[in-house]
Assembly symmetry: C3
Homo-oligomer: 137 residues x 3
């Protein structure tokens, strides 16, 4: 069994943004040299998410609108009494979830035809990290 760990860094220009991770993950897998296993892709922050869906800009707009409906930016979160203004980002992170496991088969990310992995930034404009840990052989 082998483990291979890398960390990705992001500093998005916008407060809310999506970063398409799949090409980076393929490069990491090539470096890992693991043929059968699991790749964990996990945001190391509580105001970001990682999810799998389609790389289609219209859908991404729908997703942002939807997240804003279910976990809206608001002034009156209790969390804001700490001086923060990112209460919505914490809730969006819970909704989207902060991590996914990508199966690795025969040396490739075993994703479906339309599945792509995205990092969702809910409170950016500063450095954030994602751990990519592959376990297998």
């Amino acid at each position: 069994m082998r483990a291979h760990t890398e960390y990705l860094s992001f500093h998005t220009k916008k407060r809310r943004d999506l970063v398409h991770l799949t090409p980076m993950l393929e490069q990491i897998l090539a470096r890992a040299g693991i043929h059968e296993g699991f790749m964990l892709v996990s945001a190391m922050h509580i105001t970001a998410g990682v999810f799998v869906n389609d790389d289609e800009p219209g859908l991404h707009e729908d997703i942002w609108k939807w997240l804003e409906t279910l976990a809206p930016f608001r002034a009156d979160y209790r969390h804001h009494q700490t001086g923060e203004d990112n209460g919505d980002a914490h809730l969006k992170s819970m909704l989207v979830h902060h991590e996914v496991i990508v199966p690795v088969t025969k040396g490739r990310l075993d994703l479906g035809t339309w599945q792509r992995v995205f990092y969702a930034e809910f409170d950016g404009q500063r450095y954030k990290r994602v751990i990519v840990k592959t376990l297998g052989e």
Copy 2:
């Protein structure tokens, strides 16, 4: 360490449907011959989900109603400008999540008494796949 990979195929008659996977997963585990490890059960589509909950028909009705409230079928999703009409299915998939990890202990799926694994189809009536990948020894 060993890895065992199988793919399940579904072609639901209804557009939205649940398929109870637990008995299939038990059979896969028997074939895998893995005694300690993790079984990843992951939809390979962006309009489907996999989740763990109770096998109770009334609850399943509640779940469908609830999903329709939080991620409703609507005509005006931006994604529909691509010719699709399944914007809600993408959002439902994000809400439910597309995968679970089932622990494997002493050669058995180590689920709680009432925990069952379900495939949730949000845009069916065509072939869809689920990867079941078990890692362990």
Copy 3:
């Protein structure tokens, strides 16, 4: 490859409650003696969740309020025809998700600075279990 499995038990005084798991998970990891791998933390019940977020009481209040908005306690769930009154707890469990994977690197839980693991009880006042299974070497 090694696997280490422990079960945590909770009997919350309140029906809805959060339990901070991180210190318990660190102790389990020390006993497991695994340096590189994945730790699965998974509720064994369908009316509970496990999630990663900030250990900040104001945020926790926001989370409870938010969960009550999106998956409210109601009398008229179909599930209640079985004699239960915890339909909302099932939906809250689906929303929060019942498990997380924590990466283990160099013998430590490889969490971000503010990431903490919580057990979310949605229907307590009785014994509930969480499986903590670590796989690695």
